[in-house]
């Protein structure tokens, strides 16, 4: 028994090294084969012979798995549609960073070495700050599809994103809500151990100040928390006109339910994290009247969005959330950029992405600005009858 084990382990160890060396040979082979990556024609008629290698680094397991999975679905749906469209063949490799910075960095490194024309991701902003510089140094363009923290695109001229920052979404939300509900005094709640929600909080704080709304108290929680009763009771005692919450959907659902249960009936205002159909599905009645400022108008009737909603529902038997919508849009934008020059090498792609302007997408008319950030309409939604409706 004992000696068998030893052999097994020894064999496994040997296998690690054999496999590792195999992958190294396979990896370096495909790098910078830009010769095959340009083709004839422009736009829809563009046809490229070689496969366009794209890498995506998503958090498919670990703490951020639920976003990563939505993004994976969005990307795969887009990839499927693009394959049907023809002309360009994408070799999209989706990898899991396990919500671990070390994996994120390793994967960026591997995609850079393996010759990816572009890297999509990573899921979390903190991971982007850690791994985007690797692509920047190697001259590989990166398209962030969910990074909302400030300064991501300042990493360098190869770093783009199609996700609006919280700063682009929240002021509008607060302005609309203030107008609608006559807010004078609010309680702000946010999870202070998450980069996304913390930067959301900062945006809320600044916007509230701009609008002259008093923040009666700021309450923090942890992203893992699910019992908010103590915080809500505290907030309730302050008699606010609204609760402003910067949290992820995992927190949003119990928070909204428990608030209503405690008899808090003032509006609850959330950011991008709330823009998820599960809010209505899981919080039910309690979600009614929740205001959500978001980058993606899920109720938009633009043809791209309608087609996306339908295709997504058909493919996964579920409604998409904002992560899926932005991921889907991301790949579509990459396709658009490649077709504009009919070239898919790193440099051409970098140039073409920077020149995207007024592209009709699921997110609305989409442009990339001079800072390589996204420009498209944001929306203020309100939950009505179990659906997101535009707050007007």
């Amino acid at each position: 028994m004992r000696s068998t084990t030893l052999h097994t382990v020894a064999a496994a160890t040997a296998a690690v090294f054999v496999l590792a060396s195999c992958s190294s040979e396979g990896g370096s082979g495909g790098s910078e084969a830009s010769g095959e990556l340009s083709g004839e024609g422009t736009g829809d008629s563009c046809s490229i012979e070689g496969e366009v290698p794209l890498g995506a680094v998503l958090s498919l397991t670990g703490a951020a798995a639920s976003y990563g999975e939505s993004q994976q679905r969005g990307l795969e749906l887009a990839a499927k549609e693009l394959a049907e469209k023809g002309g360009i063949t994408y070799d999209l490799t989706i990898e899991d960073d396990q919500t671990d910075p070390k994996q994120g960095i390793t994967l960026f490194d591997q995609f850079v070495n393996d010759g990816a024309s572009l890297i999509i991701g990573p899921t979390l902003s903190n991971a982007a700050v850690q791994s985007d510089p690797i692509a920047q140094e190697a001259g590989v363009p990166v398209l962030g599809i969910s990074n909302t923290a400030a300064g991501i695109t300042d990493i360098g001229d190869y770093i783009f994103r199609n996700s609006l920052t919280e700063q682009a979404v929240i002021p509008q939300t607060i302005a609309k809500a203030t107008e609608e509900f006559g807010l004078e005094k609010v309680v702000v709640m946010y999870s202070n151990d998450d980069a996304f929600t913390e930067s959301g909080f900062e945006a809320f704080e600044a916007a509230l100040e701009d609008e002259g709304v008093e923040i009666a108290d700021t309450l923090t929680f942890s992203k893992a928390d699910t019992d908010f009763r103590a915080l809500l009771t505290e907030a309730q005692g302050l008699e606010p006109d609204a609760l402003v919450v910067s949290g992820l959907i995992e927190a949003a659902i119990p928070l909204v339910t428990q608030a209503r249960e405690l008899g808090i009936d003032v509006p609850i205002i959330g950011g991008n994290g709330f823009n998820n159909p599960r809010l209505m599905a899981d919080a039910g009645e309690a979600a009614e009247g929740v205001v959500v400022g978001a980058a993606w108008n899920s109720a938009s009737d633009n043809p791209e969005n309608q087609a996306f909603l339908e295709a997504y529902q058909a493919e996964y038997d579920a409604a998409p959330d904002q992560f899926a919508a932005q991921a889907y849009t991301g790949l579509m934008l990459i396709d658009e950029a490649i077709r504009s020059e009919c070239a898919a090498d790193r440099e051409s792609l970098k140039t073409a992405l920077g020149e995207l302007e007024d592209v009709p997408t699921v997110l609305g008319e989409f442009s990339i600005d001079e800072n390589r950030d996204a420009v498209h309409p944001a929306v203020v939604q309100v939950v009505q009858d179990g659906k997101f409706a535009v707050l007007e």
Partner: protein
């Protein structure tokens, strides 16, 4: 609920201490603390049972907590069971998980010199596998019990809102804990457990089937953790893969505060932690809540390492 409005944030950016002249808020917070504390206690009792009797820390316990919440939800949504029917099933499910954990992660190590560390690692490994299986079966998204699983009845107690669910949770937690205490102190099985806790070798000599007692302890511990998971998911209206990890640290704090191995200690520790957290939110600032929990833990460890209700260890040489 109209009262003087306290200033929002004091200079320096720290939240000001809100003024509480509202009886309702204070009572509500007290109840909030008791309800969450009772779930902490039920969860922690599983930890403390295994540690107390077998001297092992089972780090797969939190994943049982999460797994059973998901299984409970599936039983209700897919199986069409009522919550009352699902709870005993989950109890059994938890017990089976406990047996598996004992068999795979602990029994093979029992005669090893490093069983202490190895048991930690093997239970961590098993926990990781269990969570992976959960993700395979249920995906990474949050789940919850369908609306209407439990009647949405509310009561008002001294100006505070209490739901029927919370009262039931408290009742179930207390019943299970009292039942367990009775079992340990009064029954044959309980005597066997205490004998094993005292000295496994001597227990074996006295005819106690140590392996069976060990397995039973794991089963009971996990069954309690399983019920705690379901109750927690109902209480907060959500279940997620990471829910066990979120409560794990609190469970550890509870068993230290209450006294390792002490069942009443786990109850008191759980309630104390629940109340301390609420107190922190009320008077210190919500950002410092977790520091309060661990501060409490730390002080207890320094002043009374055996915990509030743990008997003083006699260390004779």
């Amino acid at each position: 609920m109209i009262g003087p409005v306290p200033p929002g944030r004091a200079a320096g950016g720290h939240p000001a201490i809100p003024i509480h002249d509202e009886n309702g808020t204070a009572v509500q917070q007290l109840l909030n603390g008791i309800f969450i504390g009772s779930i902490y206690a039920l969860f922690a009792i599983g930890f403390t049972l295994v540690f107390g009797i077998l001297d092992r820390l089972n780090l797969a316990h939190p994943s049982v907590f999460a797994a059973s919440a998901f299984v409970g939800i599936e039983l209700v949504t897919r199986g069409g069971m009522s919550l009352w029917a699902a709870l005993p099933v989950v109890f059994v499910f938890g017990a089976i998980l406990g047996l598996i954990i004992e068999r795979l992660a602990f029994r093979p190590l029992k005669n090893r010199a490093d069983a202490h560390f190895a048991g930690l690692i093997s239970s961590i490994a098993l926990a990781g596998m269990l969570i992976a299986l959960l993700q395979w079966r249920y995906g990474p998204d949050t789940r919850r019990f369908p609306a209407g699983t439990f009647p949405d009845t509310r009561y008002e107690v001294a100006g505070a809102q209490v739901t029927l669910v919370q009262i039931v949770i408290l009742a179930i937690s207390l019943t299970l804990m009292v039942g367990l205490t009775y079992m340990v102190t009064r029954t044959r099985l309980g005597r066997g457990m205490r004998a094993v806790a005292e000295n496994p070798t001597a227990a074996r000599v006295l005819g106690v089937n140590v392996d069976r007692v060990t397995a039973t302890v794991f089963a009971i511990s996990s069954a309690l953790g399983a019920v705690a998971g379901v109750l927690f998911a109902i209480n907060v209206n959500t279940a997620q893969l990471g829910m066990g990890i979120a409560i794990e640290l609190k469970g550890l704090a509870v068993i230290i505060v209450g006294g390792m191995g002490s069942l009443p200690g786990a109850l008191i520790g759980g309630l104390l932690l629940g109340l301390a957290e609420v107190f922190a939110v009320q008077h210190i600032g919500s950002s410092w809540r977790d520091v309060i929990a661990f501060g409490l833990l730390f002080i207890i460890l320094l002043l009374r390492p055996q915990g509030l209700l743990g008997a003083r260890k006699v260390r004779e040489v």
